[in-house]
Amino acid sequence: MTAKQFFKSTTFKCLITLLCVLLISGIFLTVMNSLLKVTDEEKFNRAINKIYGKSVTTEAIAIDYTAQKATIDEAYRVKDDGNYLIKATGTGGFDSGTVTCWVVVAVKNGAITGIDKVVIDSNKAQSYIGNINNKFLSEFSSYDGEPFDALSMTKTGATMSARAICNAVNASIDYVNEKWLGNVTTAGTKLVNALAKLYGETQISIYGVDENGADMLITEETETVTGFITAPVTQGNATVSEMYKVVFTENDTEVVQYVLTSTGTGGFEKGTVTCMTAASAQADGTLKIFKVIITDNEGQSYIGKINHLDKYTGAIFSDGIEFTTTDGYVSTGATMSSTAINNAVNGALSYLLGNIPTNDNQEGGDE
């Protein structure tokens, strides 16, 4: 085939056409690309605006913060209204997974006024995250200074995921509060808040120990709090981690009680439940439980079904007694979690029984 024949052949024509079509397409797309390219900055702004619901300008701010149950991934200050936009990953979700969400922390005059919005970004292993509804997410808008607790919010059918979200939101609040608003929450405040859940409105004095081993009054201003237990102690199927003395007056009598934090094992899916148990020592050497509340749990998907905690109030504990699920200390639908609670309470009380502080001259605290 000569060159001339080749140039006239169909093969050549085909090649030329194909190349032309390709070239024109390539040029057209290159031009369009330079015209329509979405820059990374624009993409980021879009993502932010989508969360925020309106267009705002933001600046990234330093993170440098460690929270216990969550990590702060990204943080921005919204220039337009002074709010903070935090991306936080909360732990403690279903199957030890996490939930990452965007939290808009509204700030006015140097104080957090509320949580404007919580948007779920992504999750790890949260099979039931679809159950988290808008009603649940909108409940974050009413912020009263207290950390959010998933159990006291709308039931969603995804208890664990809800908890991870609460952890992320709480960490975001603490981060903004401590890092940018300078409102460092003292250890004392945390303890006072925690115990307020047990005692409600009752005026109480909380005592820990000072460096000499003597009782020390703990107030909201106390920066370092030392309880009667310095290192966690294993007691039966539980780990007792904290113990404080609480004194209050009831009917003109002074009541002395001890509050112990203990983590019981044997829960659902080998998880644990952490409880706070308040009890007083009686003259005959037994203990009388004032109240038990749950403060934390690990992997207990059905913890929301626990409704038998009132049963502990007034119960007597002494050597040889143990609260068990067969004695009725159980909630239907959460047997394993109930077992863990019993373990925690038993552990706390048997520890208390053997270690009632005697370094003061107050009376036994019987009512």
């Binding site: 390539g26 797309l29 290159t30 199957d95 997974g97 292993a125 099979s127």
Partner: protein, 200 residues
């Protein structure tokens, strides 16, 4: 190892191309009347998916991204897939006429199969949900393509088995053909939905 298991589970069961992503439905409905042809189509698609990923992934990562011509990806990919299919057809025809007899007729159909373009587009995108901590590379990409193809074949074979049974019965005219096939596919999807509850 964990990444390997995650990829296999995700590609075959939890994020199966047909039952979860609805890619490659045309051959799924068109060539699933007989188990033998469904299996042939499935294997042919798997082969093309693996080869296409093996070619497109390095081209995208090492040529298109450095040259900043990512926007041409669709043209590049579809062209590569079309040429691959053509080449494969010729090679199989030359090497093994028996194999060509079994698979040859499906090959031209594969160019316009979403599953092939779909997998090449997927592996260059964000795969962090599947890979976890590990970062994407050619090995994982090919592995994903292989198992996505096998998952496709699996569902094809299940579907063809069900359709063979359905053929024994008389179906009303209005639902014969595509409608009954869709309803059958719906049941397969429901069964596969259970796998999406697996989490690693």
């Amino acid at each position: 190892m964990a990444t390997f298991i995650a990829i296999v589970l995700s590609a075959v069961l939890t994020n199966n191309f047909i039952t979860a992503k609805t890619y490659g439905i045309c051959p799924f409905l068109g060539v699933s009347k007989k188990t033998s042809s469904a299996a042939g189509m499935g294997i042919a698609v798997t082969l093309v998916m693996v080869l296409a990923t093996l070619v497109t992934y390095p081209i995208y990562t090492y040529v298109m991204v450095p040259l900043e011509i990512e926007f041409l990806e669709i043209i590049f990919f579809i062209f590569i897939i079309a040429s691959l299919v053509q080449m494969l057809e010729k090679i199989i025809q030359k090497l093994s006429p028996t194999l060509y007899g079994a698979m040859g007729i499906y090959l031209p159909l594969i160019t316009t199969n979403c599953a092939v373009l779909g997998v090449t587009e997927l592996v260059i995108g964000d795969m962090s949900a599947v890979l976890g901590e590990a970062s994407m590379n050619i090995g994982w990409a090919t592995l994903y393509a292989l198992f996505a193809g096998l998952g496709f074949t699996l569902v094809m074979i299940i579907m063809s088995g069900m359709r063979e049974r359905i053929n024994y019965y008389k179906t009303p005219k209005a639902i014969a053909g595509f409608p009954i096939a869709m309803v059958t596919a719906s049941f397969i999807c429901m069964a596969f939905y259970v796998f999406s509850l697996i989490s690693l």
